[in-house]
Amino acid sequence: MRRIISVLLENEPGALSRVVGLFSQRNYNIETLTVAPTEDETLSRLTVTTTGSDKVIEQITKQLNKLIEVVKLVDLTEGSHIERELMLVKLKTTGSQRAEIKRTVDIFRGQIVDVTSSVYTVQLAGDSEKLDGFIQAVGTSGVLEVVRTGVSGIARGEKVLSL
């Protein structure tokens, strides 16, 4: 099953490589990984999406917790949560296609953030399925380039991951 694990990590050199190293060393899978400092600059927030049986996920969280620089973590998929990914797509758009693409962007609540005579650059945020859906809708033939940030997530309601 797909899981989103959110980690508070000491913001220190080498800490990220330990997390990434752990995944490859123990043969766990990383689908997406995002990391950035938090409002407390001594901490980074890292979000990793992975897949595995319950047993594997349990090992992943335990092994992550064992890393000295991991302060806290939560498996967001255990409760209700919000997940978002940002995508920038460069689309080839000429003539009559332009209006059609514009409509699709609106339906997906995206924005055209850059325009040339033959190219639209579209920005889109949402969960990963929505981003996949957009690519499908516009058709891969017109897609020149795709950049995705990977998933970030946060629990719904009062629950917070903090010190």
Binding site: E10, Q25, K55, Q59, K66, I68
Partner: protein, 572 residues
């Protein structure tokens, strides 16, 4: 206010940490540190002949004393030479701090002379690693390194020290921190009371219980508590290769050790049990055999300081995360207070069954021919040393024979590379033990293959007068490899012969030691007595043993715990 250079701070911190010995080898990036070492006499440095040996020596010291070992090496090749030793310590959870020189911070990343990314190279085989970014940090980094290495589940910690952090003419204020607190590292200090209660209830209700103890009991210094609990309950106990000595081998409740080359009765009792109390062990593949066939009727209580060890390979019904000594102490109290008592009838018939297994096999070997049997060598040594020696071993058949036939009643005396299986471990480990236990008998049981992986340390033994006894069970082959080839590859002995063996006697003599060769069965005991009488000499005893012997019992690959070869022809 005391001003010290980074190098002096490092050595001062080691003194303040209470470090007696460091094992190491100098080189460019570590020279400021070696100079600081020269100008004091509290911390003693042992100069090895290869950095791998320095790590194994620190490791042997740590295993025998329970205190963290310390290594000091230079950057690049000095640092990479320690990796096998660090990985060995990591697999067996041995507390240790490895201090590595590094090129100056201004040169890092430029492929400078003797630059290696030691933080990166060591990362998968350390509990943690740290680099020094400012000389003033040194006391805190050192304190942190020892704290992390020796608390929770212990393990090796590498400290990378760029050369400009130790420059002699730059001085800073020296403050040794009293306490270290890390917000992200809080090892458990006690087990969950509810879980412990549940475990005790299960123990009382069990009909075919067994205690399965591991190296965690030795590391957690919990032998006394374990012994008390097991005696109180009257239940059978087995332990892992790493747990040897955690419960007296001579006690009748002890079934020997379990797993691939464990005793018949241990493996049978595990397989047929209805409750396994696992204390500080980790259901390693050399114990469980095929996990899907593992102990079908058993419920499992698992005590471990490391939550990641629990339910990793075998699911636990009752997990208890905590230090083994504290958890066992609470269990003892609960057992004493418990209104329920063990089911006497069920336990009596369980013992009856176990005694039948014992009678059926026990530990035995065929000893009718003229050749010296390796098992007989170990039995004789055990007798002659009253089972009280510190025994280190290398890796191979000799290791298994040593573990099977030397009976350890105390912890910390059986010292081997169980997790990584590192040939070359035995001699330096023995040296680390002998250095701090000069009055105890220290035996290194080895093979002609393994001993040659760190034979250069005979020179270190001379320099520091370390009269260990090297017992070379010379079967003129990489015996364990050959055994697997006999069993699985129709005896095609691909690269498992040791041709052109050196004359070990002359070799020992060349290093200034004594060499003794034993090749006749009738000489064995008398000659070993002579060897042990040479208290002040390192004696290299080259014993020509049966070249065709195999280690038994041996679990059948991919079988359950109870599927074993008991000899070349008997399979159960």
């Amino acid at each position: 206010m005391e001003l010290l250079s980074g190098a002096d701070m490092l050595i001062r911190s080691l003194q303040d940490e209470g470090i007696e010995y460091i094992y190491g080898y100098p080189g460019g990036a570590a020279l400021h540190i070696y100079d600081a070492l020269f100008r004091q006499d509290k911390v003693k440095h042992i100069l090895v002949r290869h950095e791998q040996a320095a790590v194994h020596m620190a490791d042997g010291y740590a295993r025998a004393t329970g205190k963290p070992g310390t290594v000091l090496v230079t950057s690049g090749p000095g640092a990479t030479n320690t990796i096998t030793g660090i990985a060995t310590a990591f697999m067996d959870s041995i507390p240790m701090v490895v201090l590595c020189g590094q090129v100056a911070s201004t040169l890092i990343g430029e492929d400078a002379f003797q630059e290696t990314d030691m933080i990166g190279v060591s990362r998968p085989v350390v509990k943690h690693n740290l680099s020094v970014r400012h000389p003033e940090e040194i006391p805190e980094v050192i304190r942190k390194a020892y704290y992390i290495a020796s608390t929770g589940r212990p393990g090796p910690v590498v400290v990378d020290i760029p050369k400009d952090m130790t420059t002699p003419n730059e001085r800073f204020e020296y403050v040794f921190p009293k306490k270290i607190k890390l917000r992200s590292y809080n090892p458990a200090i006690r087990g969950h009371a509810g879980q412990i209660k549940k475990a005790v209830d299960m123990l009382m209700a069990a009909k075919r219980p067994i205690i399965y103890a591991g190296g965690g009991v030795v590391l957690g210094k919990a032998s006394d508590q374990l012994t008390e609990l097991v005696r109180m309950l009257g239940y059978p106990i087995t332990n892992t290769l790493m747990g040897i000595g955690c419960y007296p081998a001579s006690d009748k409740q002890h079934l020997g050790w379990l797993g691939m080359h464990g005793t018949y009765e241990s493996n049978m009792a595990m397989h047929h049990s209805d409750l396994i109390l696992c204390v500080g062990a980790r259901f390693d593949d050399r114990v469980t055999n095929a996990t899907e066939k593992f102990c079908p009727g058993a419920r499992i209580v698992h005590i471990d300081i490391d939550p990641a060890s629990i339910s990793k390979t075998i699911d636990a019904d009752v997990p208890i995360v905590g230090p083994v000594d504290a958890v066992l102490k609470e269990m003892i109290t609960l057992v004493k207070e418990s209104k329920d008592k063990p089911d006497a009838d069920a336990i009596a018939s369980w013992w009856k069954q176990i005694d039948e297994w014992r009678a059926f096999h026990g530990m035995r070997y065929e000893n009718s021919g003229d050749t010296i049997k390796p098992q007989e060598v170990i039995e004789t040594l055990c007798r002659l040393t009253n089972g009280e020696a510190y025994v280190t071993s290398d890796v191979g058949q000799h290791q298994m024979f040593a573990a099977q036939y030397y009976k350890f009643d105390k912890p910390n005396r059986w010292i081997n590379s169980g997790g990584l299986g590192t040939m070359g471990f035995g001699l330096p480990a023995a040296m680390g033990v002998k250095l701090t236990h000069p009055d105890d008998e220290v035996l290194c049981i080895t093979g002609e293959g393994s001993i040659q992986m760190n034979i250069q340390e005979l020179s270190t033994c001379k320099q520091y007068n370390l009269p260990v006894k090297i017992i070379n069970l010379n079967n003129q082959a990489l015996g364990m490899v050959k055994q697997w080839q006999d069993m699985n590859y129709e005896s095609r002995h691909s690269q498992s012969y040791m041709e052109s063996l050196p004359d070990f006697i002359k070799l020992a003599e060349a290093y200034g030691h004594v060499g003794v060769r034993i090749d006749r069965k009738e000489d064995l005991e008398a000659k070993l007595k002579e060897v042990l009488a040479m208290k002040d000499e390192l004696v290299f005893v080259d014993i020509y043993v049966d070249r065709f012997e195999h280690v038994y019992p041996m679990q059948v690959a991919r079988g359950s715990m109870k599927d074993m070869w008991l000899s070349k022809t008997e399979r159960v």
